[in-house]
C-alpha cells in the first residue's frame, strides 16, 4: 500500500500524524511530512495508514 498526499490540499490539521505517527509528522511550521512519500508502507504500518486516510478532514490523503 502507498499513500499519496496532496500537499496543496493539506490544511495542516495534523490528524494523520495522531493516527500514524511513524508515517506522518508536522514540521515546526505545521507543514506535513510524509515519511513514505512515493514508497510502499511497511506492512505493519498499513492499518495506521488507513486510519490516517480516514481521519484527514480535507481528504488530502488517499491510498494509491
Amino acid at each position: 500500500m502507498r499513500i499519496i498526499a496532496d500537499y496543496d490540499r493539506c490544511e495542516g490539521h495534523g490528524l494523520c500524524a495522531d493516527q500514524a505517527p511513524d508515517v506522518f509528522d508536522l514540521d515546526d511550521e505545521g507543514d506535513l511530512i510524509h515519511h513514505f512519500d512515493g514508497a510502499e508502507l511497511p506492512a505493519e504500518q498499513e492499518a495506521a495508514g488507513q486510519r490516517a486516510i480516514d481521519a484527514c478532514p480535507v481528504a488530502a490523503l488517499r491510498a494509491g
Binding site: 490544511e11 495542516g12 490539521h13 508536522l26 480516514d54 478532514p57
Partner: protein, 374 residues
C-alpha cells in the same frame, strides 16, 4: 466494572474517532458499530466532491483494521434498563458502554408532499447536487450560512447564475460584520447575488422560491442549506435527556449510566444552558473524550474544541477560538484585500485567504493570551 462490550451507534467522524481511540488506548474487548452506512467524512462533500466526482471515494471511511463488528442497520431503540440497543434488522446488542454518535440530518423546508427539495448532507446528496449543477444554468441557495455559501461557490464556479436568499446578512451571525462583509464582497465578485428575505419553496417538484414580498424567483436548481437537526428520534422514549440533541457533560456522559454521546447528535451542558456546535472539530474531540470516559481513563481533551474552517469564493478561512467573532479584528499580518492573519482580542485568531496550519494558529492564540493582548 470492566468494560467488555462497547456499542457505538453511528460511525462517521464522531463514532469513528471513538472506535479508533478505544483501540489506540488499548481496549481489546468487543466493539460493535451499528450504522446502516459506511462512515462519511462530510466536509469535502460541499467542497472538493461537489466540484469533482473523482473525490467521492475519498470520503468513505474504512474501519476494517479496528476489529469492529459492523451491524449494517439503523438503531431504532435504546432499552437502558436491559443495556441493549435494538436495530432495524431486529438484532439486539447488549453493551457495557454505549456511545451515541448518530450525528444529524439536513433540515428541510418543503411543505408536506412537496417533492424535489435538494439538501446536502450525504454522499448521495452531493452526487445528486453535482449532477444537477452540471445540467443547470441557474441556482437558488436558501440559507446564507457556511454551507450555503460553499454550495453557492461551487455553483458559481461551474458557471451558474446563483442567488443566495437569507433573512439575515450572510455569515454575520457567526463571523461578525467585518469578516462576513469581506467574504460576501468576494462572493459577489464571483457573480453570486444576495437577497435579504425569508423564502418558501414553490413548485412540485420545487422550481423556485417565494420571497416575503410575494415575488417569486425561479431557477434550474434550488438548494436548501438551512441547518441540521440531530438524528436522535430513535432515543425519544429512552430516558435520555434530549435538548436539541443528547445532553452531555465535560466527560461526554449523559444522564444515563454507561451511555455517552459525541458529535452533532450531542449538545454540551454549560451551566444552565446547552451549547450546540455541530462542527467537525467538536465531533473529533468529543469522540476522544467519550473513548477515555468509557474506559475510565482521565479525560485529556476538551469537550468543546473551538476550531472551524470553511472555503468560500475560493478562499480558505480557519478560525481558532469561539464563535461568534464580535467587533473589529486586529490585523496581525496583512495579505491584501482583507485577507491575512486577524485577531479578535486574545480570544480568536483567523487565517483568511492564507495557508496556515492549525498548530501554528493555536500557537499564535496561546501567545496572544499569555501576553493578555487586547
Amino acid at each position: 466494572m470492566t468494560v467488555r462490550t462497547v456499542v457505538v451507534v453511528g460511525g462517521s467522524t464522531a463514532g469513528a474517532t471513538v472506535l479508533r481511540d478505544l483501540r489506540a488506548r488499548g481496549y481489546e474487548g468487543r466493539l460493535t458499530l451499528v450504522d446502516p452506512e459506511r462512515g462519511t467524512n462530510r466536509p469535502p462533500l460541499s467542497k472538493a466532491v461537489l466540484a469533482d466526482a473523482g473525490h467521492e471515494a475519498t470520503v468513505r471511511m474504512d474501519h476494517s483494521s479496528l476489529d469492529v463488528e459492523h451491524v449494517q442497520a439503523s438503531a431504532t431503540r435504546l432499552d437502558h434498563e436491559a443495556r441493549t440497543v435494538i436495530a432495524s434488522d431486529g438484532s439486539e446488542h447488549r453493551f457495557d458502554a454505549l456511545v451515541v454518535a448518530t450525528g444529524s440530518r439536513a433540515r428541510r423546508i418543503a411543505e408536506a408532499g412537496q417533492t424535489g427539495e435538494i439538501v446536502l448532507r450525504t454522499v448521495e446528496d452531493a452526487r445528486h447536487l453535482r449532477e444537477r449543477i452540471a445540467d443547470a444554468s441557474s441556482a437558488i441557495v436558501v440559507g446564507g450560512g457556511f454551507l450555503g455559501l460553499e454550495v453557492a461557490t461551487a455553483a458559481a464556479k461551474a458557471g451558474l447564475a446563483v442567488t443566495v436568499v437569507d433573512v439575515d446578512p450572510p455569515l454575520q451571525r457567526l463571523l461578525g460584520e467585518h469578516l462576513a462583509a469581506s467574504i460576501c464582497e468576494r462572493a459577489a465578485a464571483l457573480g453570486i447575488a444576495f437577497r435579504r428575505s425569508g423564502a418558501a419553496l414553490v413548485g412540485g417538484p420545487v422550481r423556485g422560491v417565494r420571497l416575503d414580498d410575494g415575488e417569486e424567483i425561479m431557477a434550474d436548481a434550488v438548494v436548501s442549506c438551512v441547518g441540521d437537526e440531530p438524528a436522535t428520534d430513535w432515543l425519544r422514549d429512552s430516558g435520555l435527556e434530549l435538548e436539541q440533541g443528547v445532553v452531555i457533560d465535560d466527560h461526554a456522559r449523559t444522564n444515563l449510566a454507561d451511555v455517552y454521546a459525541a458529535g452533532d447528535a450531542a449538545v454540551v451542558r454549560v451551566g444552565d444552558t446547552v451549547v450546540r456546535g455541530p462542527f467537525w472539530a467538536n465531533a473529533v474531540t468529543q469522540g476522544r473524550v467519550a473513548a477515555a470516559s468509557v474506559l475510565g481513563l482521565p479525560v485529556d481533551a476538551p469537550v468543546v474544541d473551538h476550531y472551524f474552517w470553511t472555503e468560500i469564493a475560493g478562499l480558505p478561512l480557519k478560525v481558532v477560538g469561539p464563535l461568534p467573532l464580535e467587533g473589529e479584528p486586529r490585523v496581525l499580518e496583512d495579505a491584501g484585500e482583507g485577507t491575512g492573519l486577524l485577531a479578535w482580542g486574545s480570544s480568536a485568531v483567523v487565517a483568511y485567504g492564507i495557508r496556515r496550519s492549525v498548530p501554528r494558529l493555536r500557537a499564535v492564540l496561546r501567545e496572544l493570551s499569555e501576553r493578555g493582548a487586547g
